[in-house]
């Protein structure tokens, strides 16, 4: 894919009161991709997002949106970005429509037609003239997205977009985000601590822990690298001994042994097992859940 780079982060660092919160991030996002930003609470996700949209000034490093530096060309850079940071807060005493009009007035060249269009996109036509204070969380979330899309941005930044939505809402949101990327060519930057979410809607994912990116890869690449093979052998102990001679045993369950899935070597291991008089009852290849992967990469546990 030779798509244009829309969001570029290089050497991004943030130190707050002598404590290093973000320790140097480098990322490049291209148009039309949904990029997952994954990390436990307190890993620096929200701080990073706030730096992307100019709410927090980086201690060092450069953020470029469509080639515009957020620090030096703020207004130019912000033209290409739409965002929801944490909760989709709006003015509760104004109607949804007035809220959108309000934000449209702060953007160049957004007319009533465009407002009506984004209302259409998020399917809010029916309640748009009611006060925001009467909206459900799901509707607020959708209004938030409508607001983010107002200026026809190239980059959409969503911080935990499925927070507080019901299962149906989550599914709709996922479909909507995919659609934006595929049909409108938007770059969507989604943060989440829910691995499942990211797995379902993102093309690529960065895993962040303690202010550092642990790994960046396509979702599939990340998963397949960590693929597992689960064995069921009898007799168990003897089989285990033979496997141990050839590879490391990653985990042991009830009558099962888990090893890495290494395509080129598995045949050999199997042969040895058979030669050793072990019957192989089951060889099960399995993609790890992102959860396991995540715990493995970040060294477990939620950091403070």
């Amino acid at each position: 894919m030779s798509a244009e780079v829309t969001l570029k982060i290089s050497g991004l660092k943030k130190t707050i009161r002598g404590k290093s919160i973000i320790k140097g991030l480098d990322l490049e996002l291209k148009e039309g991709e949904v990029f997952g930003f994954l990390g436990p609470n307190g890993s620096g996700k929200t701080t990073t997002i706030r730096m992307l949209v100019g709410l927090i000034k980086p201690t060092s490093g450069v953020i470029e949106i469509c080639g515009r530096n957020v620090a030096t060309e703020f207004a130019q850079a912000m033209k290409h970005i739409g965002c929801i940071v944490e909760n989709p807060e709006m003015y509760p005493y104004l109607s949804g429509w007035d809220n959108l009009r309000y934000f449209a007035a702060m953007l160049p060249d957004v007319d009533e037609k465009r407002i009506a269009k984004v209302v259409d996109m998020v399917a809010m036509q029916e309640r748009i003239h009611d006060k925001v204070s009467t909206y459900s969380l799901g509707m607020r979330q959708r209004l938030g997205i409508a607001q983010a899309l107002l200026g026809s941005p190239k980059v959409l930044i969503l911080d935990e977009p499925t927070n507080g939505l019901d299962p149906l809402g989550i599914r709709e949101m996922r479909a909507f985000i995919r659609q934006l990327a595929e049909q409108e060519g938007l770059t969507v930057f989604v943060s989440s601590h829910l691995l499942h979410e990211i797995q379902l809607m993102c093309d690529r994912v960065a895993i962040i822990s303690r202010g550092e990116i642990v790994q960046v890869d396509t979702v599939y690449g990340l998963l397949s690298r960590q693929e597992r093979l689960i064995w069921r052998l009898t007799p168990h102990e003897a089989g285990k001994a033979i496997l141990q001679e050839n590879t490391t045993i990653l985990a042991e369950g009830e009558g099962t042994i888990t090893t890495a899935y290494l395509e080129n070597e598995i045949g050999e291991w199997n042969k040895r097992l058979v030669e050793g008089g072990i019957s192989v009852l089951e060889m099960n290849r399995r993609l790890p859940a992102l959860e396991d992967l995540f715990l493995e990469l970040t060294g477990g546990g939620h950091d403070v």
Partner: protein, 323 residues
């Protein structure tokens, strides 16, 4: 910039701020007007005449009787009495009945506390409410610089202060005209008194028609309101919580009212903004809180405070990380 200001106005109107302010003014005005009628009735009953000369004479006698145990207010009272005598000697009624006289007195009494409180209703949460709602994040991620965002807010504040003054002026006029009749706009008022060491200095006294005097008062009240608005605005930027910001400002205003009566021997207190809010007093010729303070001095002190407040507000707002 125009659309930013109209946005801010939309929010103020959406929260019915001006209606609230209008209602408060109307209710208080009715109360004061009623109290005023009652008071003049009781005075008339006591003296048994409606002749203002006798009324004033009686007030002077009352005052003189109080003089011996007036304590720290002795000097102020003395000046007040000398003033009354001057009015009497020149055969000018200091409180010609009618709407203008009421407006004059009401304005004088509301610049130090009442008007500032109304202004704070608008100014105190201009920035802090965006923080508590979380909408600050949306505001600051638009393609508009932080300087322009805050500037639009400040200009809206200036507009709002002017609007509140207009509402205030209109309501006072309407209600008092109904209650007291619309006479006395051209009645003469003496201004230009100044006091030197407890003595009344009448060298600069001149006569001006009442409407002109009221206009002066309005101008000064607007100026004071603007300064209070600016300082509340700064607090709204500095302090996250609207309640805390308002608390600080109210504490300042009240301490100002108390200090004004106490600081006559604390010379440097005259540089505090809250001691300088009684600028209308200079028109009237009441003695200032600290010896030697003049109208232009007070206006200058207020100006310096407002500018410093504004600079602080902008510097902090433009630099601050928003969480």
């Amino acid at each position: 910039m125009y659309s930013l200001i109209s946005n801010e106005m939309t929010k103020l109107i959406g929260r019915r701020k001006f209606i609230m302010v209008g209602l408060i003014i109307a209710v208080l005005l009715c109360l004061f007007a009623y109290a005023q009628t009652k008071q003049s009735e009781s005075i008339r009953e006591r003296i048994g005449t409606s002749d203002w000369r006798q009324e004033l004479q009686q007030q002077i006698i009352d005052g003189q009787n109080r003089l011996s145990n007036a304590g720290p207010w002795r000097e102020q009272l003395q000046i007040r009495l000398q003033q009354m005598q001057y009015y009497l000697d020149h055969d000018i009624n200091p409180s010609q009945p009618g709407a203008p006289t009421f407006i004059r007195g009401f304005l004088e009494n509301s610049t130090e506390l009442f008007l500032p409180l109304l202004i704070m209703m608008v100014a105190a949460d201009m920035v802090s409410s965006e923080r508590s709602l979380g909408t600050i994040k949306l505001l600051l991620t638009r393609p508009v610089s932080r300087f322009r965002v805050l500037l639009s807010k400040y200009l809206t504040l200036v507009l709002s202060v002017s609007m509140i003054m207009l509402i205030y002026g209109f309501l006072t006029f309407a209600i008092s005209a109904i209650m007291f009749g619309n006479d006395g706009w051209t009645a003469p008022v003496l201004t230009g008194f100044s006091s030197q060491g407890g003595e009344l200095d009448i060298s600069a006294v001149r006569l001006i028609p009442q409407w002109q005097y009221i206009l002066h008062e309005f101008g000064l009240a607007w100026y004071v309101s603007l300064v209070i608005g600016t300082l509340s605005f700064m607090l709204s930027v500095l302090i996250r919580s609207t309640a805390a910001g308002m608390g600080v400002m109210i504490a300042c205003l009240i301490s100002g009212a108390i200090l004004s009566n106490m600081v006559s021997s604390w010379e440097s207190a005259k540089y505090l903004f809250m001691v300088n809010l009684g600028v209308i007093g200079y028109l009237e010729g009441s003695s200032p809180p600290v010896e030697g303070m003049t109208l232009s001095f007070s206006l200058l002190v207020l100006l310096v405070w407002a500018i410093a407040g504004l600079i602080t507000a902008f510097a902090v707002f433009m630099k601050k990380d928003v969480y």
